[in-house]
Symmetry: C2
Subunit: 197 residues, 2 copies
Amino acid sequence: MTDPTIAPSPSKPRPTKDRLIFAAANLFSERGYHGVGLAEILSQAQAPKGSLYHHFPNGKPDLALASATWASDQMLLLIAASFEPADSFTEGATTLCHKLAKLFDYTGKWSGCPVSSTLFEGPDNAPFQRHAAHLFEGWISEVKYHGQRLGFTEEDAATTAQSFYMLLQGGWQLARVRRDSDVIRALPALLKLGDTC
Amino acid sequence: MTDPTIAPSPSKPRPTKDRLIFAAANLFSERGYHGVGLAEILSQAQAPKGSLYHHFPNGKPDLALASATWASDQMLLLIAASFEPADSFTEGATTLCHKLAKLFDYTGKWSGCPVSSTLFEGPDNAPFQRHAAHLFEGWISEVKYHGQRLGFTEEDAATTAQSFYMLLQGGWQLARVRRDSDVIRALPALLKLGDTC
DNA sequence: ACCCTCCTAGACCGATCGGTCTACGACTCA
DNA sequence: TGAGTCGTAGACCGATCGGTCTAGGAGGGT
């Protein structure tokens, strides 16, 4: 997600393992798992090949799993930071979309969802996609949790969270091809929430 | 899109160029542009390398463009076939979602959107993504056209078509990780159309 | 018969891929 | 100071990548 709030702190140099995860997440988001070679990741992370295989004994697949998980955690933090101070679901959703739109602009408008870019085309599809499913369900259930907290019935919260997820994935993709983050900003208006929001 | 209605006709053998496009579209959908080597495409298309570079002098990028365009055309046909006989937008959208859900099951639940899988991670991002944008806008404007035809104002048709597009992209992706086409079948209910539908 | 064009056929090439391996610096603890 | 551990460093490997090249089969026109 290349969250700017998590950007490298100048004082304490990021440890090698974290640099690898960060570089991998960014590069995979832009060009996908197979579109990025180890050489490029290593050069961007300023690390030698030995370090990679020290921290990730299984090599590229391990690194991909780790970077997707890290990116997913960033997304969960973003969801929590948006919905926790909100007084209504609509407000939380709007905040989240605005944060994501800013993030989209910040990443240069070339990146896709770091989880799907990384895990949808892995070497052996099954375990990668299972992990992607696990991460995505985490996003959805986090949103659902806030929906219930903000007054939705469980059923309403579930379908709203799922719709919101789909609109976000499709919306980010459309923003990417249009190179225009307004698509993301306009999402909350499309959710057409009931009255209880 | 691996549309079963366009499946190989047993009587007349598909010409080499078409076999290449068809094989490329299927493989790219599953594992993305960089995830598939020429060798695999050639073996699946039963064609030698010379034929590929005869029909597509610029090699893999040319083939990718052609296969994404072909897949997009299949999608346009599917949209038209769903909306043309429909008496309301909701009916057309429902038909389309059911057709796509069947297609999803038919492809073995491993494939992504053939356009985004092929063009989002190409060798040189800019022209590929421009082409993807062009194809996607074609889908959206086709849906918008039917929305207007079925009684929507231009503005309503535009936002509805765009929402539908995003829900479809996000929904297909969610169906893929869940390996369950019901996500796609449930989309029309989420469109929350106005009253004029 | 001949040529000419269209297309098939696959050997071959350098570049790059992911992965392995050995060597060594930095630090801790005895 | 010496041993042991953790992590860095990069040379090196076979496999595979996309792409080029030459040769030849099929069929029509003359």
